[in-house]
Amino acid sequence: MRLADSLWTEWKIALRFLLDNRMQTLLIMFGIAVGSAVIVFITALITGLQANVVERTLGTQAHIRILPPDEVNRILPADDHSWPLVLESPRAQRLRSIINWQDVRDVLDQDAQILAVSPVISGPAIARRGVARASVALLGIDPPRYQRIIPLADDLIAGQFTVGAGHAVIGKELARDLGLGIGDKLRLDAGEGREAVVDIAGIFELGVRELDARYVYLDLKQAQTLLDLPGGVTVIDTTVAEIFEADQVAERLARLTGLRAESWMETNGQLLNALASQSITTEMIRVFVGISVAFGIASVLAVSVVQRTREIGILRAMGSPRGQILRVFLLQGGLLGLLGSACGGGVGWGLVQVFNLFGPRLFTIPVDPTLVPLAMLVATITGVLAAAMPARRAARYDPAVAIRYV
């Protein structure tokens, strides 16, 4: 007999066996549905949460920062007949420019893995207005390039994003601390008599208090003058296409340029660590829920096999091959997994929508359209696997004994 014909019969028997034990089937389906709903919801939630956290973190910083190498003491080698004893104090790191930064920028512009390159000069200063003073970080930028790293124009809450010709853009907290509004004047003092007065052209809010209180964006040239590094930049910010490959790209760039390259993964080690532990926790929850669902299916089918011993015996006596009995129970496992996870997947998806509509609304969870079908596929395979033991037992029944089972 062809397998397709045999499967027709097996499908019919499996379906009837499930329908015949309606209560048992409903209970286990409910169990599977709850399990898959939990898996779908928690997967969507954690994936969404992590994507959101990463997006927020990277929204205010470059993926890779290229910096000049630290200044170190060179220790003269001692001659062969003497033992050097060294007492070394680390060098103070003065503000220095990246040598040949234009060349580095041009090389990075050509790199396939890098999306955007923005040279920046940054250094400390004191901002003064009247008697109020605040310590700030000056950032001299090339606006079109910088915008591709951090879309600052999107975060403006007042004025416009103009930094040229004596204009500056500052953060919301700084504006509040110094009582500044659009068009007001701000005195910047970078030390050693280098001072400038700038007009406030725009106020931004990045949502990170530290940045909103300290960042003062200036034109590249003006910042170079203030920080006494004419023509220099202190850092080159870049973004990469694959954010989780940033550390590898950084390593490559460091070798390529001979400069220091810090990836966001390095500077946010704790965050990555937290994300990784969160992923492991989610994975564990999923595996254990999956295992308990599998055991549920296995135990229900094991009971069903015993309940149907006599019917299995009679099917065998009528000429049903062992493989057919085996497949009848494998199909039941698969069907339970499929139908249970279809309900559960739907509920899980619904929970995500409810969370998006009525939850804390800190962020929305996007549901990957493949999530529910994938969960159903995994549940179906789990069901078939869970059914393997009971099905093998059923297929191995001795028909002569099974028929007389009461």
């Binding site: 007999m1 062809r2 397709a4 014909d5 045999s6 499967l7 027709w8 019969t9 019919k12 028997i13 009837r16 066996f17 329908l19 015949d20 006599r310 019917e311 015996g313 009679i314 099917l315 065998r316 006596a317 009528m318 000429g319 049903s320 091959p321 062992r322 057919q324 001795d398 028909p399 002569a400 028929i403």
Partner: protein
């Protein structure tokens, strides 16, 4: 439907040659239940197998029904030796050549009466054809249960269930029908009607029927009575026609 089977000598359906069956072989508990059974059953015969409890009737029927294998000797179904054939081959032969009727009717409760009758055909070739369904309905009509075709087995009486089981055993047109105390669980009137049915289908379909029974009156009605005592056939004789 049995065109795939090898031709059997003359009209012989079943032949047992020196069939022995022992259990727990090789252990101190080894017991031989059947001691060298020789038996032949021809097409169209209706034979009763009688004997006290523990005489080996059920064991013999299991062997004949290919649910079990002899310890020694050979068993031919439609001329085909079966002792060395594997489970798959014997399962196939069961479906092709043998119909079973059991004491506890054993219908499958999840299926309707009609589907139960069709089950051996569904096992054989999947989805039943219109011809299959017509055949099954005809058989249900034959056993007087045409109007119960769509009922569940639990909705009809024990005697009716047994008649459904007989219709199911006949749906593959088997050359050999085995019945293991088919009336053991029925009242006298139902038992009588089941035996009448055996007589009728025996005459109509010409299949060989072997019935295990405890009831000497019913056995006397069959054309032949085989008596089994302590694993030996002690008598095997034709009965004088009673009707």
């Amino acid at each position: 439907m049995s065109e795939t089977l090898p031709a059997s000598p003359a009209n012989e359906v079943l032949r047992l040659e020196q069939v022995r069956k022992a259990f727990n072989i090789g252990t101190p508990l080894e017991t031989e239940v059947l001691h060298g059974i020789d038996l032949r059953l021809n097409r169209g015969e209706l034979a009763a197998l009688i004997g006290p409890s523990g005489s080996g009737k059920s064991t013999l029927l299991n062997l004949i029904g290919l649910l079990d294998t002899p310890s020694s000797g050979e068993l031919y179904v439609l001329g085909q030796a079966t002792r060395d054939s594997d489970d798959e081959a014997r399962t196939h032969l069961r479906n092709q050549a043998i119909g079973f009727v059991f004491q506890f009717h054993h219908l499958i409760s999840a299926f309707s009466v009609l589907e139960n009758v069709l089950m051996p055909l569904m096992i054989r070739h999947g989805k039943p054809s219109h011809a299959d369904i017509d055949l099954a309905r005809g058989l249900l009509d034959e056993v007087g249960l045409a109007q119960f075709a769509d009922k569940k087995p639990t909705q009809i009486s024990g005697g009716q269930q047994q008649r459904v089981a007989i219709a199911r055993a006949l749906v593959t047109r088997p050359p050999l029908l085995l019945a293991d105390e088919p009336t053991g669980n029925l009242d006298t009137r139902s038992a009588q009607s089941v035996f009448e049915l055996f007589h009728r289908i025996n005459a109509q379909f010409g299949c060989a029927i072997l019935v295990v029974t405890h009831d000497p009156r019913l056995a006397a009605d069959c054309g032949r009575t085989i008596q089994l005592v302590d694993g030996h056939i002690v008598s095997d004789a034709a009965n004088p026609p009673s009707h």
